[in-house]
């Protein structure tokens, strides 16, 4: 029975340490930052392995070594969740709510010991350890039913919590940033925005991996199940990585593949931008040379696999997007066009609107419409002063607004005062200037 765990045990432990290293080094380390796809694939691996390695629901008699390791996967999944938070993919409120999860888990664990009684718990664990070694509390039914039942409960809860955390991480990465509670609805119904198709892929694969082995192999499926899971996970990892590889090289523009790629992105807009700008390689972590070549010379000494400094980030931002984007928007006064939309600008720049939207959020912290409105209001302020006799309609026309009322509303919303009050305030300020 024990050897069923072996094919999956080592990858699980390795994955655990990998995620641990990731959470420590990710925020400022080039290698880890660019290996987010790998983290995502690993998370999938954990999820599938965890779910499919469980004995069927009516035979929860064996807590194998592997299952214990999987139970521990709540830790890395939580860590990866924290990583998502630190990358500003998840909002603070939601983060705090989810912090309750490990606490809940701990409480349930304590409860199980309480129900069984401390002495019983210790004896059971000692028996298990002496028979099977640590992390292998093989249980029998000799009077320990209550403890066992509660432990089963812990186990099932653990599975649920794990799934929840993974789900949140996936949704956050699929939506590419700033995950909020209301985004769950958006996630379910967003269509093109976050791509439901890859989510369905995952669900179908999940069913295939968990149900089919049971149906085919039956109750004696443990070994086969572990083997199939391992193979399937590796296969899945390869498929996702391949898609990510093709996608990041910019050779495939199919929406569904883009969506699948987006699911494997665990990062802020900036890191997605990194992936966009690079030729990319398997899992995006070792082939950073493509990205480095695009940077100015000075950055070479700092970019050879060590810290990705803010300088590098800036160089990347500047080199690929900003020049074109700001040249178009500010230099070309594109914001004055009345029919400007996120899609039209993205099309002009030759990127997807999601990418542009992420870029805006990561660079300016503003949505596209807010950014455009801000540019228009900046322009309007100077226009008002330069054209003393201009009507609001004239100003609205000159600044790209559809009409005077739209201009008035937007101006008031952004500056807090109507254009007229603003103008009066300026006159007052100028007067004060002269008297001082």
């Amino acid at each position: 029975m024990q050897f069923q765990s072996l094919p999956l045990l080592l990858p699980c432990i390795a994955g655990f340490f990998w995620l641990f290293a990731y959470i420590i080094f990710a925020p400022r380390n080039d290698f880890f930052r660019k290996s987010k796809r790998f983290i995502a694939v690993l998370s999938l691996f954990f999820l599938f392995a965890y779910l499919s390695s469980k004995p069927d629901q009516f035979m929860m008699l064996h807590f194998t070594l592997f299952e214990q390791v999987c139970a521990l996967s709540i830790v890395p999944s939580f860590l990866s969740y924290i990583a998502a938070y630190r990358n500003k993919e998840i909002t603070g409120v939601f983060f705090r709510i989810c912090c309750i999860i490990p606490l809940l888990h701990f409480i349930i664990g304590v409860e199980s010991v309480y129900i069984a009684g401390y002495d019983n718990s210790v004896r059971i664990l000692q028996d298990s350890f002496s028979t099977h070694g640590p992390l292998f509390p093989y249980l029998d039914d000799n009077g320990q039913r209550s403890f066992y039942a509660c432990y089963t409960y812990v186990f099932q809860t653990n599975m649920f919590l794990n799934f929840l955390l993974f789900a949140i991480s996936f949704m956050a990465s699929a939506l590419k940033g700033n995950f909020k509670v209301r985004h769950i609805v958006r996630f379910l119904f967003a269509g093109r925005k976050c791509e439901l198709i890859p989510v369905l892929y995952v669900l179908i694969l999940l069913i295939l991996l968990t149900v089919v082995p049971v149906l085919i192999i039956g109750k004696g499926f443990y070994v086969g199940n572990a083997f199939i899971t391992t193979v399937a996970c590796i296969f899945l990892a390869l498929v996702i990585s391949l898609v990510a590889l093709i996608g990041s090289a910019g050779k495939v523009g199919v929406e569904s593949i883009g969506g699948l790629l987006s699911m494997t992105r665990f990062g802020s807009g900036i890191s997605e931008f990194d992936e966009y700008s690079m030729a990319g390689g398997f899992l995006g972590d070792t082939d950073s040379a493509g990205g480095i070549d695009e940077k100015p010379d000075e950055s070479h000494s700092k970019s050879d696999g060590n810290d990705l400094t803010s300088y590098d980030r800036k160089a990347l931002l500047r080199n690929v997007f900003d020049t074109d984007f700001e040249k178009l928007m500010i230099g070309g006064k594109h914001f004055l066009q009345r029919d400007i939309t996120l899609t039209s600008v993205a099309d002009t720049l030759g990127i997807s609107k999601d990418e542009l939207s992420d870029y805006m959020e990561a660079t300016y912290g503003l949505s596209f419409s807010n950014y455009v409105n801000m540019l228009r209001i900046d322009f309007a302020e100077q226009y008002i002063l330069d054209h003393d006799d201009a009507t609001q309609r004239d100003i609205a026309n000159a600044c790209g607004f559809s009409g005077a009322s739209a201009f008035n509303t937007t101006f008031s919303k952004i500056t807090g005062v109507t254009p007229k009050i603003w103008k009066d305030r300026y006159a007052e300020m100028s007067k004060r200037k002269k008297t001082t």
């Binding site: 800036k314 928007m329 300016y364 001082t436």
Partner: protein, 143 residues
Amino acid sequence: MSYNILDADLSAYTVLVADDISLNLTMVSKMLDLYNFRIITASNGQEALYRMEEFKPALILVDLMMPVMDGFELISSVRSNPDYASVRIVVMSALNSKASIVKALNLGADEFLTKPLTMDSFYDCISKQFELILAQEADSKIG
């Protein structure tokens, strides 16, 4: 163009951004995120002065058009206070008339950035200001 300042440890420094338009504050704060100094914000000149007392910023980014106390007044107040003699002042404004620029610089602003801000000019300006701040500090230490 020098961006070396981005690698420097600026965690001991504070930058104050004064602007009454919250979108501008959001955007400038986000753009300043690349540096590791502390960023504080104020929505008018008066608030900026209060916050300056508390946080002693090394650099302030000021909008001209603000309620309660406008940018010109803020610059005058800062420059008239000897405690803030070393504070660098950058004006960010959409009011790009020659008169405004000259007035701001005459009152003691160190640089004038015209809105809309572009990455290039913004980062150049911040880097330059911090190079000067660091150089100033090094000089005073040697002195």
